[in-house]
Amino acid sequence: MTKFPSLLESVGRTPLIGLPRLSPSPTVRLWAKLEDRNPTGSVKDRAALAMVEAAEREGKLKPGATILEPTSGNTGISLAMVSKLKGYKLVCVMPENVSAERIQLLKMWGAEIITSPAAGGSNEAVRVAKEVAIEHPDWVMLYQYGNPANARAHYETTGPEILEDLPEITHFVAGLGTTGTLMGAGRYLREKKPDVQIVAAEPRYGELVYGLRNLEEGFIPELYDETVLTTRFSVGPRDAVKRMRQLLTEEGIFAGVSTGAILHAALGVADRAIKAGQSADIVFIVCDGGWKYLSTGAYDGTLDDAEDALDGQLWA
């Protein structure tokens, strides 16, 4: 279907693209799920729309209400678009070390931004948002890290779309942030194909982001259930940038840095399948396009330059 009554109805049903050049062999194949084809250009449109509609159904969101959300960017941009079309105000709590484009886009869609300190990354954004929520009890915090509608969006849409397009799927690889994509699509795929492997790629940021005062300040999203995962890889900016550039030069797909991290994990999984003499159909998520990261320097110069440029940034 390519005709929709409004932009909101066009969320999802993204294409799954084969990658003949990056696939290591004719029997170990990589497939990219292009979530940048969503209305605001990221996978987060699915969760944002689902969380807003769930809150409406539950009577938590009344016309003209203000939504509050801690976000490093994409969820905020998606919520800003949904809020604009549905008549809500949006206040985002965002760490100061995110790309300039994310802030520009949020403002363009009409969101108000409260910044949280760079040190501590999204942990701090969550902490500040919880404080703001106490000061403004009438604001509605959707709280993507613990909102079941986030994972449910992927259980009901992303997972079924993938299985319908590629019934032979053996591995699903996605980024671990709120964990919504992996928990939702992962659970769905597991239920339908018990042998499918669910693989998480977690961004490993620079020192600044881990600048907690003590270990008790650590954070695990309430949605996270490790039994859904087969394994979990930590991927640093160097590998993420290398793969992001490879995806562009070899397959023509212009993706953001977090997608590079996911592709790195997908290629690792592909390599294991090759060594084990198994065939594999590996689906990975392209979270967003590269547009929002042009100013970070991720596409310029050597890998060393890009690694330096991303140090201290929340690049995923």
Partner: protein, 90 residues
């Protein structure tokens, strides 16, 4: 059998402010015990009641050990162990 262990900022005070330390160990538990001999107090920041602490993630060659064999995960010379606090993404 030397293993390189990378420590987060928050744990460096327990290891003479070093970012990376070297230690021996055939398993992760063994490695952490050996580290604690050189840097007393480090173990209790990583391990609690026989398990890795809730807000600590440990990776062997980038793979989360909770999906390997946890503290019983085997190590080989040249392996890289990363210790990181759990932080939010999204």
């Amino acid at each position: 059998m030397s293993i390189t262990v990378s420590l987060p900022t928050i744990l460096r005070p327990y290891a003479n402010d070093q970012r990376r330390v070297e230690a021996d160990g055939s398993t992760l538990a063994n490695l952490i015990d050996n580290l604690d001999l050189t840097y007393p107090g480090l173990k209790s920041r990583i391990v609690e009641e026989g398990s890795i602490r809730r807000y600590v993630n440990v990776y062997i060659n980038s793979e989360d050990v909770r999906f390997l064999n946890g503290l019983d995960s085997e190590l080989s010379s040249g392996d890289l162990v990363d210790v990181l606090p759990a932080v939010a993404g999204g």
